[in-house]
């Protein structure tokens, strides 16, 4: 787990644009993540090992299908990112300077343009799930059924999926100090 954490810590600043993007390092780093995901991470949690693995919740085993789906998603996304590393980051978002001319009244609440992130009213209100969250949450993630070619996605998008998978897994199964 520490290797995963260290690799994410090394790559995250590149995704934020504060460290120069390096295709080789991203590709190699995500290969490391992929090698620790899937069956490898599942093997760390043998049945009836709760007492020896104090940072895991009982749900880790009672909801094994979902846990395994997360492990698979992590591996799939990491492998895709290792391959897609040459794609680079998506265009940089508008800088804060771009908003310098806004008046205070413009800032009271989000403007309709906030929909540019691509979420529909139904997704925002929660009665339609984000497509990328459905399979994992239901423990039905199947890379073969993905509608998109992951390797065609931007590096930033793929890395966000990797980190979201880690966070989602921690929220459900991690009993540690986080």
């Amino acid at each position: 787990m520490t290797a995963l954490k260290d690799t994410v810590a090394e790559l995250a600043p590149m995704m934020q644009g504060v460290v120069l993007y390096d295709t080789y390092i991203v590709s190699e780093g995500t290969s490391v993540i992929a090698s620790h995901a899937g069956e490898t991470v599942l093997s760390l949690f043998p049945k009836n090992s709760l007492e020896g693995v104090t940072y895991a919740k009982p749900e880790n085993w009672s909801n094994w299908q979902s846990f395994a789906a997360l492990a698979d998603e992590l591996k799939t996304c990491a492998e895709a990112l290792a391959e897609a590393a040459p794609n680079g980051l998506e265009p940089v978002a508008p800088s804060s300077d771009d908003m310098a001319g806004m008046s205070p009244s413009d800032m009271v609440m989000p403007e309709p343009s906030t929909q540019s992130e691509g979420f529909t009213v139904a997704e925002l209100m929660g009665y339609v799930e984000r497509p990328d969250a459905v399979a994992v949450a239901r423990g039905t993630f199947n890379p073969a059924e993905l509608a998109v070619d992951l390797t065609a996605l931007s590096v930033d998008d793929l890395f966000t999926r990797i980190s979201a998978t880690c966070s989602f897994c921690h929220a459900q199964f991690h009993a540690g100090r986080n």
């Binding site: 460290v19 490391v32 979420f119 949450a137 921690h170």
Partner: protein, 325 residues
Amino acid sequence: MRDMVRFAFVVPTAEARVGTDILSPWSLGAPESDTFPPGDAARGAYLARASGCVSCHTNAAAQRPALAEVEPLDTPFGTFVPPNITPHSDAGIWSWTIQDFAKAVRQGISPDGAPCYPVFTYLFYAGFTDQDIADLWEAFRTVPPVEETAQAHDLGLPFSFRSGPKLWRAAYLDAPNSDVLIDTSSPWNRGRVLVEGAAHFSACHSGRTPFGGLDDGDRFAGNVSLPGGRKAPSILAADLVAGGWTVANLAYSLKSGVLPNGDAFGDCKAEVVAEGTSFLTDADRTAIATYPLDPEGTGALPSPSPTAAPSAVVDHSNMDMTNEN
């Protein structure tokens, strides 16, 4: 006067006997507008997500219908059950008017005139404009109605005393201070509006008095007594800087759940990201990250800690499977 009201909480059980006679006739709130502007459901849905309406009223982990059912919240005062706020005619809010809705959201007063319990974070929404309310209203009308009546709260005396929150309001109800500073950068102003208002960071990250009011002396200093025994860390600027946080990595964590050390949020913090801040725009996440790192709006953001140039990828052989994280 406020101190007297706060002291009055000390003997609430005895007061409860006379409270019905004294407090019940005490009407609350101000009349809402007769008319509201046309609403924009898209803008309202974004605001509902930013304000926590969706995450607090939906049991997403259990794949339950949106805004209709959620896990009860265990607090030191008893167990609260967030209500069904879908537009269902019986179980939800279909019969409400937009004025009812506005009064509940901005003033914390239900259509029957009863005060809402402060576990509902209405005090952070007091600054919502009529347009905000109209937009939210339109968004909520799009939600499929669900016939799922919420369980009743399970509270002991004196907190089950229905007029009790009137005393709480007198003691602790303050509108959020989210006034913009004209000379300060737009992200900071925007961040202040979101952090102090809609996104209600103080609700989790500030200390509370024994009676659940925000402790002015512990603002943003963290809270170890959240519902369910959860904890929220300090987001004071000095503590954030000491933890390695910058505007860039804090904004990124609100999108991804990744901490500066490469670990990932867990527990309720992961939920906040997954069900809340990950839906926001990059500009709003940057604004939210800017405000606590520069609480006075000086424009002097802390310098990021030096980042070593990436030199080598972590060796696979370093894999450490301890449970330290």
